[in-house]
Symmetry: none
């Protein structure tokens, strides 16, 4: 198992006293889309439940494997890093992390023995101060101050997404997947020679003029990192203009 | 209105042919938690709908203000930057952005006149190639390759979250400024009309042919995010070719 997969499997999502079973299903789905698998439920109001299964929509294996416990302590056994999500700022403030920073923190902990827990309170009351006492950090998901009512599964989705992003960026797996071969430097040079030659022929470009026009055009095409097939299209087009001009 | 608020209000979330009304409600809630307000629905299967309102849970003002249109073009009127979310990689790939990069791109566009559209396809079939043709970029939300079934509202949540994050991080910090004005969508449209017309006149492009050539050319220029002066250069050049062809 490569380090990325192992990282995902060691992140534990802990949901405390979830009242809506549907939210547990949605949270499982959110987790699985990002590669997370460990779900722990602390005193769920209704579970197992058909609504949870329906909402999980293919992530029901996470529900079947979910650990169900009575108190938060049990959910956190074997964890080296514990982070609690809460919108509420406490009288005695916890060290605050954004979801992105929390994912970076989790990534730093990946060579530790234990797991990383991210804890979510109930839909209505969130996490109590006593529950926050177990946490090394508080994760604060930025939100509209006039309407900060994030759905539980939406919060899980954001955290899980950031975990996946940090893993992707860290193992150097960009998302860019241009399958086309980029144009070589020579191809670019011949393309520009051709382009400015046609520009000159139609009277738009005079080589003795200041170089600004030339530079602007090159900047435009350089910026888009032209591919080999694109160069062929442009050269084909320029060639046809040449032909038409020669016919005169 | 400060620049941050204005930024949020100019981001348009466009949902195409959404089949589940509940997802529209959840999407509205996801948007509002992050400060977004503009929702456009293209041919929703069922709307307005009680399930949508229930799921919106306090974000029903966004549903009431939602614009409902028949075709995607209408939804994109007045937009200068259009990004389509799709998990599918195309035969002819679009320039891919992560949600984070998409938010950065949107932020760069904030001093433009027009809006920024982020388009989401239907739950089952996603976005068609023809719908992607309207987009400057494809947003690819990273996901578990074995289970990439993100819920529609979860996808909206991630995009909206990244929009908020980029705004938070950018305000108060040194912000990258575009010194040149970017081309508007109309300018791009007239440029393409002109470009393909000249291509047709010299016999390189036949409109009845498969659309691949057209798509390739548009992808090339869209990718470089053309500026107003660059459009002027290209239009000037094309105009001179026209003149020469007319002289014959």
């Amino acid at each position: 198992m490569d380090i990325g997969q192992d990282f995902f499997h060691r992140i534990r999502i802990v949901l405390i006293r979830t009242t809506e079973a549907g939210n547990i299903g949605s949270a499982a789905r959110a987790m699985k889309t990002m590669g997370l698998s460990q779900l722990v439920l602390v005193k769920p109001a209704e579970f197992p439940n058909a609504k949870a299964t329906a909402r999980a929509s293919g992530a029901d294996d996470l529900l079947a494997d979910a650990m169900i416990v009575d108190v938060l302590e049990q959910a956190l056994e074997g964890c080296d890093l514990i982070m609690g999500t809460s919108a509420r700022l406490r009288d005695l403030p916890w060290p605050l992390l954004s979801p992105h920073e929390a994912a970076e923190k989790a990534w730093e902990y990946r060579q530790m023995q234990g797991d990383v827990a991210v804890v979510f309170g109930s839909e209505c009351s969130g996490m109590t101060n006593e529950e926050m006492d177990h946490c090394h950090f508080q994760i604060h998901i930025p939100a509209n101050s006039e309407y900060s009512s994030l759905n539980l599964a939406a919060s899980v989705q954001i955290i899980a997404y950031e975990m996946r992003m940090v893993q992707m960026l860290s193992i150097g797996e960009g998302i860019r997947q241009f399958k086309e071969i980029l144009a070589t430097r020579d191809e670019m040079k011949y393309f520009y020679d051709h382009f400015f030659d046609v520009m000159r022929r139609v009277g738009y470009y005079r080589p003795e003029q200041p170089k600004l026009l030339r530079r602007r055009v090159m900047r435009l095409f350089n910026r888009s990192m032209m591919t080999h097939p694109e160069i062929q299209i442009m050269r084909g087009f320029l060639g046809m203009i040449d032909t038409k001009l020669n016919e005169k």
